[in-house]
Amino acid sequence: MSPAAITALVVLGFAVMLVRRRSLATLLVSAQAMVLGIAALSLARGRPADFLVAAIILLVRAVALPALLTFTRRRTPEPYLVIPATTVLVRLVLAATVVLIAAASIPPLGLGDRPAEHAAVALLSLGIAIVIMRRPALLQVLGILVAENGIYLLAISVPGGLPFVIELGVLFDLVLVVTVAAAFTHKIHGEVGSGDTDLLRALRD
């Protein structure tokens, strides 16, 4: 994959960590999936079956899932701005630290594309960091999608790609989980009047 595409994927991941608006974060994740999808399509050129699977994955990841999350966002308007737990600068420094440590500590994974290996692990780490550091439920779902985009990056970097069963199976599971997470987001909003997961702190020992 081209260095520009890999850089774009990581920058978009960082942007999701930093932006305030859920609508903008959704667009950023959609753009990330679009970059990945186009890269997958170009890698599958000349192989019709692979091309079809890559096209389906692009449509679901870059269009259908962001559309579902946009629908969820519109049904769960925030009555007030959810104040981030940390400032933008702190989030940026923490995320950069996590990503650098994770990317630096991985051994060669044997894919023959070292930048893609680094970027995949960086996106997984970023996704986890987004879930930990962002309070709105919808942003946490987007964190999961950033992590999953990292795995998809690694998957398309495997010479010959992954078998269709795995690619489509993972996609199916992702759709299921995001749909359930969207239902939870709606339900949580109905119960506490906000998608702020910090308000869900009843279960402590």
Partner: protein, 494 residues
């Protein structure tokens, strides 16, 4: 008989999936209850037939298809999932009848509960049969969606919190595991064809050729990812919340079937990749998770916790014991693991079912420790006793025998210090649970004696059946070491 295995497996999975669909078409809750009981009886019978075929073929693999394997490990775990699933299905109407508010409308709540329940159960039944690491991952991820809805079924704020935590943490954990699986797939290279590269057998055959560093990195990712679903500390945060907030029959299925079944996949991955990594590192990882889980769980067993939350921390403790047993990896320890999985399933499921009459008769026990149950409801107290005495590992509980076998297995493996630390922690856990049981039975102020409800009568019957089954398991435990079953389990999947 082996010719019939493929169709039998398809039928075992098709019945609950069909039930999930059919139950949503039924007009009344009572009709949904009846259909679910009928289909769950059939599902359990089919799964138990498969389990018998698998175990009877020991030490050989009963059958292996393009996407399934029916070996002794499949048989043992299928039997556990079948029994717990059936018991949970049978106990669900007692819960649903008095469940009150739920995520769904009152008219549709039974139907949606059973739909999610059957999808969850079908995925759990398929998991021990999965012949392939990637397929196993897909099935584990599939359990998340259905079971998360069940965890939050009550629709209460605390249940939503538990369900949300469960979805987010386990999905991220499984994403981590998936990254490891992709690395393993790439490492196997062009040896093997497509999906078949990740078959347990293919992985074991090619393990010696895998690059050490990349495979170790992948194995750590897979194990950490699966640990988040097994509930091993320190990635267990969802477990106490989900177990305590889910409907009791679902808590039973989570604790007694989901956790050990995912543990089977971790075990199979260990056996498949061990030749590439060397036994030392792999053993250290399992033992590390085991000891940390025990260390985290034991202090909570000493605290006055609500009944279901106490059982949840006991699950953390027992998953730690199983991690130790698999880590030790000697035949004696593995024999202990099998008995522990079965004994824990019976005792823990009974414990969660006991919560149905307990919560109904005294709703305060949802948020506070149970007290004086021997005075207010002797049948409920009997069920609590059978469950907690077994879980604490008091003889003649099979968990006493299995824990001794696992600890002796550790010594056999030359890990005297680890076994000693684990023995001390288990003794502390025993004292904590014994204290909790005595307080639960006889503590607190004198309450009114209550007339047994139908759920109390059902739990009394279940307690009797569970006690007999647990004693039977203790007898089996003495005969297990050195048997063909253990020989087969030592090379599960390979």
């Amino acid at each position: 008989m082996t010719d019939a295995v493929g169709p039998l497996i398809v039928a075992t999975l098709a019945v609950p999936l069909s039930a999930a669909l059919l139950v949503t078409l039924l007009p009344t809750p009572v009709a949904a209850d009846r259909l679910n009981l009928a289909t769950s009886t059939l599902t359990a019978a089919l799964a138990l037939a498969l389990a018998v075929v698998a175990i009877a073929a020991a030490p050989d693999v009963a059958s292996r298809g393009s996407w399934y394997v029916l070996d002794v490990a499949s048989g043992v775990f299928l039997a556990v999932v079948a029994v717990v699933g059936f018991a949970s299905a049978a106990m669900s109407p007692f819960y649903l009848r008095h469940a009150g508010r739920s995520w769904f409308t009152a008219r549709r709540s039974h139907a949606w509960y059973y739909a999610a329940f059957n999808i969850f159960w079908a995925a759990l039944l398929a998991l021990p049969l999965a012949e392939n690491l990637a397929i196993a991952w897909l099935l584990i991820e599939a359990t998340t969606a259905a079971s998360a809805l069940l965890v939050a079924f009550s629709g209460k704020r605390s249940a939503l919190e538990a369900g949300w935590k469960y979805v987010v943490l386990t999905t991220l954990g499984l994403a981590t595991a998936l990254l490891g699986i992709v690395v393993v797939y790439a490492a196997v290279g062009s040896d093997g064809s497509g999906l078949g590269r990740l078959d347990w057998q293919a992985l074991a055959q090619h393990a010696n050729e895998l690059p050490h560093e990349a495979t170790l990195f992948a194995f750590v990712l897979i194990l950490v990812g699966l640990a988040s679903k097994i509930g091993w500390a320190p990635v267990h945060n969802w477990l106490p919340d989900a177990h305590s907030e889910a409907p009791p029959p679902v808590s039973a299925l989570l604790s007694a079937a989901l956790l050990p079944t995912v543990l089977l996949i971790a075990w199979r991955t260990k056996l498949a990749l061990e030749p590439a990594l060397g036994s030392g590192t792999v053993q250290e990882l399992f033992i590390g998770f085991g000891l940390v889980s025990l260390l985290v769980a034991i202090p909570f067993l000493w605290r006055p916790l609500p009944w279901k939350r106490l059982l949840a921390y006991s699950s953390l403790e027992h998953m730690g014991v199983l991690a130790l047993g698999i880590g030790f990896g000697t035949p004696l320890a593995i024999a202990g693991v099998v008995i522990h999985v079965a004994g824990h399933a019976l005792a823990k499921a009974l414990g969660f079912y006991t919560a149905i009459p307990l919560l109904r008769e005294d709703p305060r026990t949802a948020d506070a420790p149970a007290r004086g149950i021997a005075r207010t409801s002797p049948p409920t107290a009997t069920a609590m006793s059978v469950s907690l005495v077994s879980l604490a590992g008091l003889p003649p509980s099979p968990l006493f025998v299995s824990e001794v076998m696992i600890l002796l297995g550790g010594m056999e493996a030359g890990l005297l210090a680890v076994s000693s630390i684990a023995a001390v922690l288990l003794a502390l856990g025993f004292l904590g649970l014994a204290h909790a049981l005595l307080e639960g039975l006889f503590g607190g102020e004198k309450g009114p004696h209550r007339r047994p409800s139908r759920s109390v009568q059902a739990i009394a019957l279940l307690a009797g059946i569970a006690a007999v089954a647990l004693l039977g398991l203790t007898a089996i435990a003495y005969a297990l070491p050195g048997s063909d079953i253990v020989e087969a389990l030592m090379r599960s999947g390979a």
